[in-house]
């Protein structure tokens, strides 16, 4: 499809320039932070680094990567992210599918829906959740990090709305062919919802990769920390409002280079995964291709 009107061509130009500018606005701070993470401590402390490293050094990355628990934590994080995303996707699919049915054909769906939506807003808070995990004996286990967040209602609602956009005729055709619900979901709904699934998978991966608090709470042994939690131990955040400062810790406090390196290590896996997922939501899905 080629659009040859002058107006559209002009628009395309402006659009391209505009999008490029916005992208630049988004990437400059990141470059700034990359530059800091590759700079010497004194220059970083004095905020003398802009978009190019000063006193170039890999120290911050070496400091982080040479932590003896690093590789162990990396594995824990990978396990957690994979397991978490897999469980999340399965639950989201098999939950969103029934909920996407209309009330007249699936009685009780609204009750189910409100049952889930209620939990989006009302939560018991940290204390009872912690007690629960302890009573269930899930501490020091990957399940404590994966199960409580497995039913992500926001995503399920999004997914059920995507499911609804799928033409009913296709489902009916499948049902007439004698396919059951599971088969219909597997053969029709999921392939047609790949953009949505890819999007939600991405969000979940980002969440699991960067979540550190539960990783700290439910692990008594520091060598089993997920990476995000381990990274928290490499930076210090001290409360300047109190006079309570230990001078020996001071130099670590604003070690901006290490903090910046940490951001990169947090974002890197996503940057690596992104291109693979991207093809699902950049290109439209051709319905005909699935139909045959």
């Amino acid at each position: 499809m080629i659009y040859r009107t002058n107006g559209y061509r002009l628009f395309t130009w402006f659009n391209t320039i505009f999008l490029a500018c916005i992208s630049l606005c988004c990437v400059l701070p990141m470059i700034h932070i990359l530059a800091i993470s590759l700079s010497g401590r004194d220059a970083a402390t004095a905020n003398l680094v802009y978009l190019w490293p000063v006193d170039f050094t890999f120290d911050s990355f070496i400091d982080t990567l040479s932590n003896r628990n690093f590789s162990r934590s990396l594995i824990v994080s990978l396990q957690r992210t994979l397991l978490g995303t897999a469980i999340f996707l399965i639950i989201a699919a098999i939950t969103a599918y029934p909920l996407s049915k209309e009330s007249y054909s699936f009685r009780g769906r609204s009750l189910y829906a409100w049952f889930f939506v209620f939990t989006m807003l009302f939560t018991g808070g940290l204390v009872p959740n912690y007690i629960l995990i302890m009573k269930l004996g899930l501490n020091n286990s990957l399940w404590a990090l994966v199960l409580p967040t497995a039913v992500e209602v926001w995503s399920i609602i999004l997914l059920l709305n995507f499911f609804r956009n799928i033409p009913k005729e296709m489902e009916e055709a499948a049902l007439i062919d004698g396919a059951g619900h599971f088969k219909t979901m597997w053969n029709i709904y999921l392939p047609l919802s790949l953009p949505a699934l890819a999007t939600l998978a991405l969000f979940t991966m980002v969440f699991h990769w960067n979540e550190w608090f539960h990783g700290m709470l439910y692990n008594t042994d520091a060598s089993n920390y997920p990476l995000a939690t381990l990274l928290q131990t490499i930076i210090v955040q001290q409360d300047f409002t109190k006079m309570a400062i230990n001078p020996e810790d001071m130099e670590n406090i604003s070690n901006k280079s290490v903090k910046s390196a940490q951001i990169f290590i947090g974002a890197l896996p996503i940057l690596l995964v992104y291109p693979f997922l991207q093809r699902f939501f950049v290109k439209g899905i051709v319905l005909g291709a699935v139909k045959e």
Binding site: C26, V27, N47, T95, L99, F116, V117, V127, F182, K259
Partner: protein
């Protein structure tokens, strides 16, 4: 309503729909266990909760924790600030990715499209601690990048973005949108990816230009998901973003920038008053829930659309 008819249809329903119920079982069980069981903790909102006495034995204080929230001299102002900031963020946070994905949808060059998409997602990974420092730098009245630009282009006097109440709110909303719109864009793009190209082909045959196509195909395709996102985000109507405000605010902008969460942090978190924290959370959830219910009803009544 014919009773027998209803009964018969239910029977038919059960027979045909039992796999649907089965599919819901795992999520229902997990939700019961990990969401509804801990919800018992909400009773802490009505207690003078002490960690060592636990939920069972902490003394009951009735509505005292709520009174504390509303009893402060500046409670109304804090609520108001929260509402304004949160609503502005919700609205701007929907419009920006909406428009952006429309523009991105017009890009034909796939590699450019992908790069833009990747780059705008990056700010999501920055923490407000780091961003706070960067904003302080570029928004400075003393030679900050933004003020320099405004001065050179429009001859505007330097603006004290972080020290002037109204500009502070503006800055908070804009910087939030900047950080998160790449995130929202992905959802919209996923919606657009589901639009069948045959619709556009048909429109071209009908002689519709690109603008008409956008108006009649692209935007309607995005509407359902937009309504869903808008409704769900109403749950956050009293969440104005603690991390961001906490890292950016200062005594100069307390009157326009202090929000419920920062207030709770100063009073409850620091002193470990968990009952109060729970009460505030309950209050915020209740308001959010009411709004979601209203929006759900309205969407159904006027658009005939069930959001969930």
């Amino acid at each position: 309503m014919g009773n027998t008819l209803a009964r018969r249809s239910r029977k038919w329903n059960l027979k045909r729909n039992w796999p649907l119920h089965m599919m819901l079982i795992p999520a229902v069980l997990l939700t019961l266990l990990f969401a509804y069981v801990p919800m018992g903790g909400i009773v802490m909102a009505f207690q003078d909760f002490k960690p060592w006495t636990g939920i069972m034995d902490s003394p009951w204080v009735g509505w005292k924790n709520f009174e504390k929230l509303f009893g402060q001299p500046d409670s109304i102002q804090v609520m108001w600030n929260t509402l304004i900031l949160a609503l502005s963020k919700i609205i701007a946070g929907l419009i920006a990715p909406f428009l952006f994905s429309l523009l991105l949808n017009e890009v034909r060059v796939s590699s450019f499209k992908r790069s833009v998409q990747t780059l705008v997602y990056l700010p999501h990974f920055l923490s407000w601690v780091i961003l706070g420092g960067i904003l302080l730098e570029i928004l400075s009245t003393e030679g900050g990048m933004i003020n320099k630009l405004l001065g050179n282009l429009f001859g505007i006097q330097p603006i004290f973005f972080l020290g002037d109440g109204d500009w502070f709110r503006f800055t908070v909303v804009i910087s939030h949108v900047w950080k998160e719109f790449g995130f929202g864009t992905i959802v919209f793009l996923a919606a657009l990816a589901g639009v069948s190209p045959s619709l556009y082909e048909a429109a071209v045959v009908d002689g519709a230009n690109r603008w008409k196509q956008t108006l009649h195909i692209t935007i309607p395709a995005m509407m359902p998901i937009t309504i869903v996102l808008a409704t769900l985000s109403l749950g956050n109507v009293l969440n104005a973003g603690f991390d961001q405000i906490f890292n950016l605010y200062n005594a100069l902008v307390y009157d326009k920038g202090d929000i419920i969460d920062t207030y709770v942090y100063r009073t409850a978190i620091i002193s470990g008053n968990m009952g109060f924290g729970t009460a505030v959370g309950l209050f915020k959830s209740a308001i959010g829930f009411v709004l979601i219910v209203v929006a759900y009803r309205l969407a159904y009544k006027f658009a005939g659309y069930r959001i969930f």
